[in-house]
């Protein structure tokens, strides 16, 4: 019971972890269901209408309930205060409130299954005017997204104030580790972009319930304006999803290379640059919606521009590996997989960001493959990397490393088997969001479906191994030999308010000179 009223950031993080993992598994199963339907041309087990509802619910859960809150709400909540030497976040009660809002939003989203004409069938983007006209439970799904947005805003606000006000003495901005920096950039996006989708979704609700015509042309509205307002949030939201994942990778790599990260400040600035430029690229979702040629060219240029800071990060991570003493452990494997898969996702992003190429692949499986490479191959893998990284800090025990490696390998192979054929299918012209396809697409679809089973087996092994680890051998307080405060100055699991006394910071976050002495010295205290 004390968990439900806790104000401890670590407990709230864990409550988020269980809730988010639960929703992830639900949406993962919906994905498996869709792949099963696509095992052969024609209707297999889902009606077209039900297929539409399944992919919408899959998208709504994965986006609003897993990827957006995933890393910030779980690992941000758990590690951020410790990484900057703070006893808690700035507003612990608000933190708890945001968890309740999250759960409320999640239950509302699932409740659409239970009554009326079932879950929304609009796709997670709720494009008007269809979202205004369909008889399915769009209003409730949209309300759920609104509440989840509010939860996300409160988390971002909380982190911003925490980082501004609660850094330990001596921890200047540029001594702050890179995961906090990534969260800092993310939080600004959460605070400044989410309200725009909030009001847009409220307009959809007003239009459906009160008949206030804002987007439906029949009532005097403009549906393209809806797309603009929606993507003004939802493109920056893409960076809410991936920036924290990049922070995780920046945190994991130096620990397993025992070497300072290459270009610390450049990684900081690139996070901020991604957050900033990310506001001005939303139009690239609408190349085919009827914008002026000039607008499309400008959006395309800006889109190419935002890829530069992302590429800088990839080069920096790879450079960090150079001449490091690499220790290949499960978290490190996930970080490597992130770099590999995020690079594929990023480069295919340039294909859809280019005006001419996008006309060809718009609304095809190429887009589906592209964003799954970024979202699942990037953020999803970083999420798993993070749980393998902080596992012993969270529970004070360790999982079986051999099985973690096996699970990782199967998941990695399965993942690429699912999504790489989608890129090919998209180039061949298979449109997305259909339950059926032409016979010439059969082989690639079957490879993808078989891949989804392999991926499921891999994920199953990973989850079972993580659960079994709860009874695993006791871990020391710093098994990976990290030099950040969360590992050097706290117990495993950390006590209430994390530290015996607030540490004073003198070293940089990734200073691995004489790190063994440094760790031993602080362990004695």
């Amino acid at each position: 019971m004390s968990w439900l009223v806790t104000e401890d950031h670590k407990r709230i993080a864990l409550m988020y972890f269980y809730a988010i993992s639960g929703f992830f598994i639900v949406a993962f199963c919906l994905g498996l269901l869709m792949r099963l339907e696509l095992i052969a041309p024609g209707r297999q087990l889902l009606d077209p209408q039900i297929y539409n509802q399944v992919f919408t619910l899959h998208g709504v859960i994965m986006i609003f309930l897993f990827i957006i809150p995933g890393i910030p709400a779980v690992f941000g909540n758990f590690s951020l205060p410790m990484l900057i030497g703070a006893p808690d976040v700035a507003f612990p009660k608000l933190n708890l409130l945001s968890w309740y809002l999250y759960v409320l939003g999640g239950l509302l989203a699932l409740s659409t299954l239970l009554f009326g004409e079932g879950p929304a069938d609009t796709g997670w983007t709720f494009y008007a005017p269809y979202s205004v006209k369909t008889g399915t439970n769009v209003s409730i799904a949209v309300l759920a997204a609104f509440i989840l947005g509010f939860s996300s805003i409160l988390t971002g606000l909380n982190f911003l104030v925490t980082m501004h006000r609660m850094r330990a003495p001596g921890m200047t901005w540029f001594k702050m580790p890179l995961f906090p920096w990534a969260l800092y950039a993310t939080s600004w996006i959460q605070v400044l972009a989410t309200p725009v989708v909030g009001i847009t979704l409220m307009m959809i609700i007003a239009e459906r319930t009160l008949g206030i015509g804002l987007f439906d042309p029949a009532l005097g509205g403009d549906p393209v304006l809806y797309q603009h307002l929606f993507w003004i949030y939802s493109h920056p939201a893409v960076y809410i999803m991936v920036l924290p994942a990049m922070g995780i990778v920046s945190e994991i790599i130096p620990v397993f290379v025992k070497k300072s990260i290459f270009g610390y400040k450049v990684i900081v600035y690139s996070s901020l640059a991604i957050a900033f430029i990310g506001y001005f690229v939303w139009g690239h979702h609408m190349y085919t919606s009827g914008m002026s040629g000039e607008a499309r060219i400008i959006f395309s240029i800006l889109t190419f521009l935002v890829s530069i800071p992302s590429a800088i990060k990839v080069f920096n991570w790879v450079s960090t590996l150079y001449k490091g003493s690499i220790d290949v452990k499960p978290p490190f494997l996930y970080a490597l997989a992130f770099i590999f898969q995020f690079t594929i996702g990023g480069l295919t992003g340039l294909v859809v960001g280019a005006l001419a190429a996008d006309i060809h692949v718009h609304d095809t499986y190429f887009v589906v493959g592209h964003f799954h490479y970024v979202m699942f191959g990037g953020t999803g893998f970083a999420f798993l990397g993070a749980i393998h990284f902080w596992y012993s800090k969270i529970w004070g025990r360790n999982y079986n490393i051999k099985w973690a490696n096996i699970g990782f390998a199967i998941l990695f192979i399965g993942f690429n088997l699912v999504y790489f054929p989608m890129l090919v299918l998209g180039m061949m012209g298979m449109p997305r969001r259909y339950y059926d396809y032409l016979p010439e697409f059969t082989l690639s679809n079957q490879v993808s479906t078989v891949g989804s089973w392999i991926m499921a087996i891999g994920l199953f092994i990973v989850i079972v191994n993580l659960i079994a680890g709860r009874k695993g051998p006791k871990a020391s307080s710093n098994p990976w030999g990290s030099v950040t405060l969360d590992w050097t100055h706290t117990e495993s699991p950390p006590s209430l308010y994390n530290f015996k006394e607030i540490p004073t910071v003198t070293r940089g976050p990734y200073d691995y000179r004489d790190y063994e002495d440094y760790i031993k010295e602080n362990h004695k205290n």
Partner: protein
């Protein structure tokens, strides 16, 4: 809980500056919430200036002006209440907050009167001959109800917040040394005022 309390006080310090920072960030989100509606307003007005002209002519400038005076004055009274509390006069602070809330009631009463008049003239989506109006006028009233409605909701929330703060002052949890919650409540009230200062000319003054 009690053994934790000592540890809590030892580790965590009360930070009014941080609380104000959080409030300002929240106010940013409120501005952007209304910002989406302002964008829609700008786009539809530029598409159909004629219809917006017709719609604007239907509004009662006097009622709008009186409401503007009410809100501006209420912002003054809430600011005065902060000064009163800083000087230690908590009774005066509570009275000034109550006057602010009274202005909020007066504002809402006028709003109720205005909206009822519109309903009587059939100027609401789905009522009377609303659907036969020119597109621009329909858009004008769609936005009028959406934006003033959302603003009115904020007036109610702001008044409730101030009522809670007044209760806190009465109990003594908000006092001369710890007045940040009153200050934050005041900031929220100013937001309600500032949004209205934009809504008033957009709907009533620009013809």
């Amino acid at each position: 809980m009690s053994p934790d309390k000592d540890l809590h006080d030892q580790m965590i310090h009360f930070d009014p500056y941080g609380k104000k920072l959080g409030m300002w960030l929240f106010l940013f989100t409120e501005f952007l919430l209304f910002g989406g509606l302002f964008v829609v307003y700008a786009v539809y007005r530029s598409m159909n200036p004629e219809g917006f002209h017709l719609g604007s002519a239907e509004l009662d400038l006097t009622v709008g002006a009186i409401n503007t005076v009410f809100l501006l004055t209420s912002s003054l009274t809430v600011a005065l209440s902060i000064t009163a509390l800083q000087k230690g006069n908590s009774k005066l602070a509570i009275n000034l907050i109550m006057i602010t809330i009274l202005f909020a009631f007066a504002f809402m009463f006028n709003k109720y009167y205005e909206w009822t008049m519109k309903f009587e003239h059939g100027l609401f989506p789905g009522m009377g001959h609303f659907n036969e109006l020119p597109v621009g006028e329909k858009q004008f009233f769609n936005l009028y109800f959406m934006m003033t409605g959302l603003h009115a909701l904020h007036v109610i929330i702001g008044a409730i917040l101030l009522l809670v703060v007044a209760w806190g002052i009465k109990k003594g949890t908000i006092n001369q040394k710890r007045y940040i919650y009153l200050e934050n409540g005041g900031l929220y009230w100013h937001l309600v005022d500032v949004i209205w200062i934009y809504l008033f000319p957009l709907f009533y003054l620009i013809i």
